[in-house]
C-alpha cells in the first residue's frame, strides 16, 4: 500500500490544477463564509413613494404621530431609493436599481381612521423568485413590526380611556369634564345614599343602578387585562431539551465544512479509483500484486487525508471571522477524520462502478449533492412518507452523520459525539464492502 500511496501522491503533485484547487478552495471558502457571516445580510434596495401630504399626522392614543416617521421605521430593513412618484419608482425597478417599490397611499390617514378593514400599502416587485422572496420577507416583517406598534398605541389609548372611566378625573383621553366621578366610586356613593331612602319604587330603581355600576366597574377592570394581550397575544418561550443551542452562523460553518469535506473526499476517492481502471492498471495490480481491499483502503486514506487537511484549514480560516472554540480542537479532528473516512469509502464505491474518471466525477456529483441537500431538510417539513424516505436516505449516506458530528464537535450541539462517530464508522465499513464488490464485478 505504501508504494501505491507514493504513486498517487506523485500523480497528485503533478496535477497542478487539482493541487491548486486543494489549496485555494479552503482559503476561498473560508473567506467567503467568514465575510458572509461577519458582515451580515445586505439590505435590498427598495423604492419608496410617500403619497401622503407633507406633515400629515395620525392620531393614536391621544398622540399625534407623523406619517413620514412611521414610514422610516417601517422601511428600516431596506435600503431606500427615493422616488417622488409612482412612475419614478417603476423606472427604478425596471432599470434594476430597486428590487421593489412600496407606495404609501395619500389616503392612508383616512383609512386608518375608518372602520373599513386594514389599511393597504401597495408593493411592486421585480427580480427573480428568490429576490422577490427576500424583499417580500423584509417588507412583511417591517409591516408586522409596524402593526404591533399601531396595536400598542391603540391599546394604550383604550387603557387610558378605561382608566378615566374607572377613576374619573379630568383632561383624560376622552376629554372628561372637570372633577368627573369615576365608576370605582359610584357604587359606594349610591350605597351611602340608598341607606337613607325609604322602601319604595325610587329606592329599588337606585339599587338597580348601583348593581349596574358595580357590574360595569368589574367589567371595565377586566377589559384592561384583556387589552394587554391584544397587541401580542402569543409569545415564544423556547426550551432546549438536549445539549446547547447552536447559533445559526456557527451551524452554517458546520454545514459549509461538511459539504467541502464531502466533495473533496468523494471526488478524489472516486476519481483515484476510476483512474486505475482508465489507465488499465487495475487488472495488473489485482493479479496478485495488491489485494482489492488494500487498493480501496489506500484510495480512502489518501482522499480522507487531503479532505481532512482542506476542511481543517477551512475551520482555522473561518475562526478568524467567527468565534470558534479552539479548546474543542480534539473533537474537530475526530469529527473530520471519521467523516472523511466515510466519504472516502463512498468515493471508492462510486469509483469502483465507473470505468473512467469523468464518469466517476459525474456520478459523484449526481449522487452526493442531492443526498446532502436532502439531509438538510428539517424533520417534519415534508409529508410523512417522504419524510421517512428522506430519513432513511440520510441515515444511509454519511452527510447527515458527518454534519451532526461536526456540529457537535464545533458547537457542542449534542453531548454524544461518539454516536455520530460510530455511525460514520459503520457507513465507512459498509461502503468499503460495496467498493470491494464493485471491483470484483469490474474484473
Amino acid at each position: 500500500m505504501r508504494w501505491l500511496l507514493r504513486k498517487d501522491l506523485l500523480i497528485l503533485r503533478r496535477s497542478r490544477l487539482l493541487l491548486a484547487l486543494l489549496v485555494l478552495y479552503p482559503v476561498a471558502i473560508a473567506l467567503l463564509i467568514g465575510f458572509a457571516i461577519s458582515r451580515g445580510p445586505s439590505k435590498p434596495h427598495v423604492a419608496v413613494v410617500d403619497e401622503t401630504p407633507p406633515g400629515q399626522t395620525v392620531h393614536l392614543g391621544g398622540r399625534e404621530v407623523q406619517v413620514s416617521s412611521y414610514a422610516k421605521g417601517l422601511l428600516a430593513g431596506v435600503t431606500e431609493i427615493p422616488a417622488a412618484t409612482r412612475q419614478q419608482a417603476q423606472a427604478a425597478i425596471e432599470s434594476g436599481r430597486a428590487l421593489a417599490a412600496v407606495v404609501i397611499p395619500a389616503d392612508i390617514v383616512a383609512r386608518i381612521g375608518s372602520v373599513n378593514g386594514p389599511t393597504g400599502l401597495e408593493v411592486l416587485y421585480n427580480g427573480n423568485a428568490i429576490e422577490q422572496s427576500i424583499v417580500r420577507a423584509q417588507i412583511e416583517a417591517a409591516i408586522a413590526k409596524a402593526n404591533v406598534e399601531f396595536s400598542r398605541q391603540i391599546q394604550g389609548a383604550a387603557a387610558g380611556a378605561s382608566r378615566e372611566l374607572l377613576e374619573g378625573g379630568e383632561h383624560g383621553p376622552l376629554g372628561a369634564p372637570a372633577n368627573m366621578i369615576g365608576l370605582n366610586r359610584i357604587p359606594s356613593v349610591l350605597r351611602e345614599n340608598i341607606k337613607g331612602l325609604p322602601a319604595g319604587r325610587g329606592r329599588r330603581e337606585l339599587e338597580r343602578v348601583e348593581a349596574f355600576a358595580t357590574f360595569a366597574k368589574q367589567s371595565i377592570s377586566e377589559t384592561g387585562k384583556v387589552l394587554s394581550t391584544i397587541g401580542q397575544p402569543l409569545k415564544i418561550r423556547t426550551v432546549l431539551l438536549h445539549g446547547r443551542r447552536t447559533p445559526l452562523d456557527t451551524f452554517a460553518v458546520a454545514v459549509a465544512v461538511a459539504i467541502s469535506l464531502m466533495f473533496v473526499c468523494v471526488l478524489q476517492a472516486a476519481g483515484g479509483l476510476a483512474l486505475e481502471r482508465e489507465e488499465n492498471a487495475l487488472e495488473r495490480l489485482l493479479r496478485g500484486l495488491v489485494r482489492a481491499r488494500d487498493v480501496i483502503a489506500e484510495k480512502t486514506i489518501l482522499a480522507a487525508g487531503c479532505a481532512f487537511a482542506v476542511a481543517f484549514a477551512m475551520l482555522a480560516g473561518i475562526s478568524a471571522f467567527v468565534p470558534l472554540e479552539w479548546s474543542r480542537v480534539g473533537q474537530w479532528i475526530l469529527a473530520l477524520a471519521f467523516g472523511a473516512l466515510a466519504f472516502g469509502a463512498v468515493g471508492t464505491a462510486i469509483g469502483a462502478l465507473a470505468r473512467e474518471v469523468r464518469a466517476a466525477t459525474l456520478l459523484a456529483f449526481i449522487l452526493t449533492l442531492p443526498l446532502a441537500l436532502l439531509a438538510l431538510v428539517p424533520e417534519g417539513a415534508v409529508s410523512g412518507a417522504l419524510n421517512a424516505v428522506i430519513a432513511v436516505l440520510s441515515f444511509l449516506f454519511p452527510f447527515k452523520a458527518a454534519l451532526e458530528a461536526l456540529d457537535t464537535a464545533v458547537n457542542g450541539a449534542s453531548p454524544a459525539l461518539w454516536v455520530s462517530l460510530l455511525h460514520l464508522a459503520v457507513l465507512a465499513a459498509a461502503f468499503s464492502v460495496l467498493a470491494a464488490l464493485g471491483l470484483r464485478r469490474a474484473r
Binding site: 489507465e279 495488473r284 496478485g288
Partner: protein, 219 residues
C-alpha cells in the same frame, strides 16, 4: 472454462517450452482472450491448472497498462516494488536498457510515442524475469517500424530462454515470428504444431482458412 451455460474453452491444454514463441490464433469468439486471461491470472479456470503459477507469468495486455502521469522509470520502479523484485533499482535499469528506453526513461509515459509506451508495457511484464511472457495483440497499435523493433526484442528474449505466448490477428507476424501456432475455434483446439506444418504451400493464412473451413464442415 465455462461462463454460465457457455463453454469458452473445452479441454484445451497447452505447453510452451523455454525459447519458444507460440502464437494463438483463431476467429473472434474462438477463446483466445479467455485462454490468455487464464494464463495471466485475470480469471480463474473452471478446471485444470497453470504451471508456472500466475505471479511467474509476465503479462502485457493489449491496452497499455501503465500510469501516463508517471515517467517510464517511475512506472517500472512502482511495479518492481509491488512485485517485490530483488534489487528493484537494478532490475529497472536493466529493463530500460533492454527495451531501449534508457534515453526516454524520465519522460512521462503519456508523452511517449505509442511504440515506446508499448515497450514500457512489455518491460513491466518482464520486470520479474518471468519464465513465461504472455502478450495480447502486442503490435495492434504500432506502425510497421515499431512492430519490427518490438518483435526483434521479443525474439531476443526467446533466444535468452523466455517462453513467449502471444495472441494475434496479424497472420503475417505469426508466420514470421512464431515458432509454433495454436488454432482455436469456439473453445476447441483445432491445431497445435509448427507454423510450417499449417502453412499450405508456404502461406499460413491459406492453411488457417482451410483448417477452419474443414472444422466448420465437420461441425
Amino acid at each position: 472454462m465455462r461462463f454460465g451455460a457457455i463453454t469458452a474453452l473445452d479441454d484445451v491444454s497447452l505447453k510452451v517450452d523455454p525459447g519458444e514463441i507460440v502464437a494463438v490464433v483463431g476467429p473472434n469468439g474462438a477463446g483466445k482472450t479467455t485462454l490468455l486471461s487464464i494464463i495471466s491470472g485475470l480469471i480463474k479456470p473452471s478446471a485444470g491448472r497453470l504451471v508456472p503459477p500466475v505471479p511467474e507469468v509476465g503479462w502485457a495486455p493489449q491496452q497499455q497498462s501503465l500510469y501516463k502521469a508517471l515517467t517510464a522509470r517511475e512506472n517500472l520502479e512502482l511495479f518492481a516494488h509491488l512485485e517485490s523484485v530483488p534489487d528493484a533499482d537494478a532490475a529497472v535499469e536493466r529493463m530500460l536498457e533492454q527495451t531501449g528506453l534508457a534515453s526516454r526513461a524520465d519522460e512521462r509515459a503519456g508523452n511517449l510515442s505509442g511504440g515506446n509506451r508499448q515497450r514500457v508495457n512489455v518491460a513491466l511484464a518482464l520486470l520479474g524475469e518471468p519464465p513465461l511472457l504472455a502478450l495480447d495483440e502486442p503490435t495492434a497499435a504500432l506502425d510497421p517500424a515499431q512492430r519490427e523493433r518490438l518483435w526483434r526484442f521479443v525474439a531476443e528474449l526467446a533466444h535468452g530462454g523466455t517462453a513467449v505466448l502471444f495472441v494475434s490477428h496479424n497472420i503475417g507476424e505469426v508466420q514470421r515470428w512464431a515458432t509454433r501456432v495454436v488454432v482455436l475455434d469456439r473453445g476447441h483446439k483445432l491445431f497445435d504444431g509448427p507454423v510450417e506444418e499449417l502453412a499450405a504451400g508456404g502461406e499460413l493464412e491459406q492453411g488457417l482458412l482451410a483448417l477452419l473451413a474443414g472444422w466448420e464442415e465437420a461441425a
